[in-house]
């Protein structure tokens, strides 16, 4: 799989944060979309199964990031997830550990160097089955 074939969805209720990630990844030729709530993501973006990777915030306005991951995973088993949260003490929930599509490293906001996120995406891409 190629970078250009991948569609990344950023689910974050903080538009500026989401935008900064979007811009950074776009500059690195990733195909990036942004939604500001999990509900919108589920209803609008995941219907056609075109999204490959979701960068998900945990504390969202409505549905939590964890619930979103569970539901999205149920909809599309191929979907990969990467958690990026502002909660400093966040540890991946046990129920989410069973989802192999979840990336092991949790990114903590603020991401001091966005290159680490780029590297993580590349890692996911490299390990695409």
């Amino acid at each position: 799989m190629n970078k250009s074939d991948i569609k990344v969805l950023i689910v974050d209720d903080e538009p500026i944060v989401a935008d900064s990630v979007e811009c950074f990844l776009e500059d690195r030729d990733w195909n990036v979309n942004v939604v500001n709530s999990a509900e919108i993501a589920l209803m609008e973006k995941l219907e056609d199964k075109s999204i490959n990777i979701c960068i998900v915030d945990i504390r969202l306005g409505g549905m939590s990031g964890e619930e979103f991951i569970r539901k999205a995973h149920a909809m599309n088993k191929d979907l990969k997830f990467l958690i990026c949260t502002g909660s400093p003490n966040y540890l991946i929930d046990d129920s989410l550990h069973q989802i192999p599509a979840l990336y092991g490293t949790v990114f903590k906001k603020p991401i001091n160097d966005l290159m680490t996120l780029d590297a993580a995406l590349m890692d996911i891409l490299d390990n695409w089955q």
Binding site: S20, F24, D27, P88, K109, P110, L114
Partner: protein, 606 residues
């Protein structure tokens, strides 16, 4: 204390008594009487009465027929005893002045009687008589004659005299006996009294000893107390005080006795009236956390005054406790409380802070990327579309120092993030972020941070401190949490700068303030040793020992939390499985040594 010597007193009395007894005895023994015995019965009576024949001078002996008669009336045993008595009596006759002896009596077979008769025979010249078969009449004549010559006391015939004499005799004997008895009783009484006194003295000695023991025990207790104890009278004048007080006042109890409490403890003089009230109203007075300087250092003391009424002496006992440590502990508790609530608060608000921070940080990075990356295709395209090129933009950015400013924003954001992170280190554990780093770079970066830090605070200028670096040429990358390691280094630099403050203030007097940093790779241990030395005033042993204790600080409260070194220790020991030690000598300086294994040693528990 008064020295009792009742022993010598008793001896003296006893000796006095003995002398008295001896004088009495001599008088008694010298009593000499001239008795006329008309019958053996009288004589035996006399003998029985006196029983002191050995010491009597018998001046007059008449041995007559009646004796024989008397003897013949007796049975054999009685006769033998009577004979023995007579011979004993005769044997004791010393100065014979008159002897009337019946010739028949000469047959008396006793050697003593014979001797007497011989002696009487030889005394004829001296107006003595020996009468043969004397008749009662002639005896009376002789006696009468003798009486005219001597003042003879008729033992029996003179009835009036007899009684008195016998009585006197008895009395004398009795008196003597009485005296002896009295003496004996006296002695006995004296002895008993002496024993009693002795026992009493021993008891008293024992009690005294016990009292002394108790007193010294109590003194020990009072003197061993870490509290100051001062006894004052109703006027507030010191009666005595314990060792701790002497130590604090630097003067002995006897020196300050009688002085006013306020004069000896000037810093507590304002409470003198309340102390007097304590005595008069008999109410306990307590004042807490009073400032009091001991040996030039400010301490907090509690002053408690207890009214005292013993044996009519009015006064009070004052207890002054040094509660500095307790007060400090309380402050620490408050601090800890604060830190914990800060941790909780930080955890609560971190999410809220982190999001806008993420916006700033991440956006600034994107901005940097978009302005300073001439190689990015999207940048080139955008520049062209705007009618310019990346080179022009770069030149502009360089000229206006915009990139530097943006980097500043980015770095500041990182610092804010690390502050939030540090606050959270009290609320969280086990989320360290390990990655390989160049230790030299970490040190240099931290030094930079330290310079900025002190410039901002303007309290001490890091630029006035010479920083000497000594790095090994080859040092492998170190697996560590750079942020945490920086925190440790920064903390040590801060402490060093604080210690060197004195040197900075007196540049001329002292050696130039200097911090020496060395980094050495220990191949054998597969660890990196970082040493940071300063030439400041150093620390004493106690400070060194307590340095890593949480909330231990030598700085004023406003300056330090007392957490820096303990958190550093925690970071090195627990997070990096390393070692943080300190060596210091007063007047020479301090050296911190950090030993870090280059490979991360995972804690088995995690």
């Amino acid at each position: 204390m008064k020295n009792y010597s009742p022993n010598s007193n008793i001896t003296f009395k006893a000796v006095l008594c003995l002398i008295f007894i001896m004088v009495i005895s001599v008088f008694a023994l010298n009593m000499s009487k001239v008795y006329l015995f008309n019958s053996q019965r009288e004589f035996t009576h006399f003998v029985e009465q006196t029983e002191q024949l050995n010491n009597l001078r018998i001046n007059f002996v008449i041995l007559n027929e009646w004796q024989k008669r008397y003897l013949s009336e007796l049975n054999d045993k009685e006769r033998y005893l009577a004979k023995r008595k007579i011979s004993e009596t005769v044997a004791h006759v010393k100065n014979i002045e008159l002897a009337v002896v019946n010739n028949k009596f000469k047959q008396f077979n006793q050697p003593e009687v014979k001797e007497l008769i011989v002696r009487v025979d030889s005394l004829i010249d001296l107006n003595q008589r020996i009468v043969d078969d004397i008749s009662m009449e002639s005896l009376d004549e002789i006696i009468l004659e003798y009486r005219s010559l001597y003042n003879v006391v008729d033992y029996m015939t003179d009835n009036l005299l007899k009684k008195s004499i016998v009585n006197a005799n008895r009395l004398n004997t009795k008196k003597f006996l009485n005296i002896v008895l009295m003496m004996f009783i006296g002695l006995l009484v004296l002895f008993v009294v002496a024993i009693f006194l002795l026992v009493n003295i021993l008891k008293r000695k024992k009690t005294e000893l016990l009292l002394k023991k108790t007193q010294s025990y109590l003194n020990n207790v009072i003197n061993s107390m870490p509290s100051m104890l001062v006894g004052v009278d109703a006027r507030g004048c010191i009666i005595n005080m314990n060792r701790e007080s002497e130590h604090v006042c630097n003067s002995s109890s006897s020196q300050v006795a009688g002085q006013s409490f306020g004069d000896v403890f000037p810093e507590l003089s304002e409470y003198i009236d309340e102390i007097k009230d304590t005595v008069s109203k008999r109410k306990v007075m307590e004042k807490t956390k009073l400032p009091y300087s001991i040996a030039g250092q400010m301490h907090s003391v509690n002053l408690t005054a207890y009214p005292l009424v013993t044996n009519g002496i009015e006064g009070a006992v004052l207890r002054i406790d040094d509660v500095t440590k307790k007060v400090r502990m309380e402050e620490m508790m408050v601090q800890t409380e604060k830190m914990l609530s800060l941790g909780g608060l930080a955890a609560g608000i971190a999410h809220e802070v982190n999001n806008p921070l993420a916006a700033m940080l991440q956006t600034s990075q994107v901005v940097l990327e978009r302005l300073a990356r001439p190689d990015l295709l999207s940048n080139i395209k955008a520049a062209q579309a705007s009618g310019t090129d990346m080179a022009t933009i770069s030149a502009f950015m360089e000229d206006r120092k915009i990139l530097k400013m943006l980097k500043g924003i980015h770095e500041s954001g990182i610092r804010v993030a690390s502050i939030v992170e540090n606050m959270l280190s009290f609320a969280r554990k086990g989320s360290e972020n390990f990655s390989p780093h160049d230790i030299k770079e970490i040190i240099d970066k931290t030094l930079e941070l330290a310079t900025v830090d002190y410039n901002v605070k303007k309290k001490y200028d890091f630029r006035l401190i010479d920083v000497e670096k000594e790095y090994d040429e080859f040092i492998p990358l170190l697996e560590c949490d750079m942020g945490l390691l920086q925190q440790v280094l920064l903390n040590i630099f801060k402490n060093a700068a604080h210690a060197l403050q004195n040197n900075i203030d007196n540049v001329k007097a002292n050696a130039k303030p200097m911090i020496k940093i060395s980094s050495h790779y220990d191949v054998a241990k597969s660890a990196i040793l970082i040493q940071i030395s300063d030439n400041g005033p150093g620390m004493d042993k106690e400070t060194c020992l307590r340095l890593f204790e949480p909330f231990f600080t030598t700085k004023e409260n406003s300056e330090g939390t007392g957490l820096g070194m303990s958190v550093s220790y925690f970071i090195i020991k627990d997070f990096h499985s390393g070692d943080l030690t300190v060596e210091s000598e007063l007047g020479k300086g301090t050296t911190f040594s950090i030993l870090l294994p280059i490979r991360r040693i995972q804690n088995e528990q995690e």
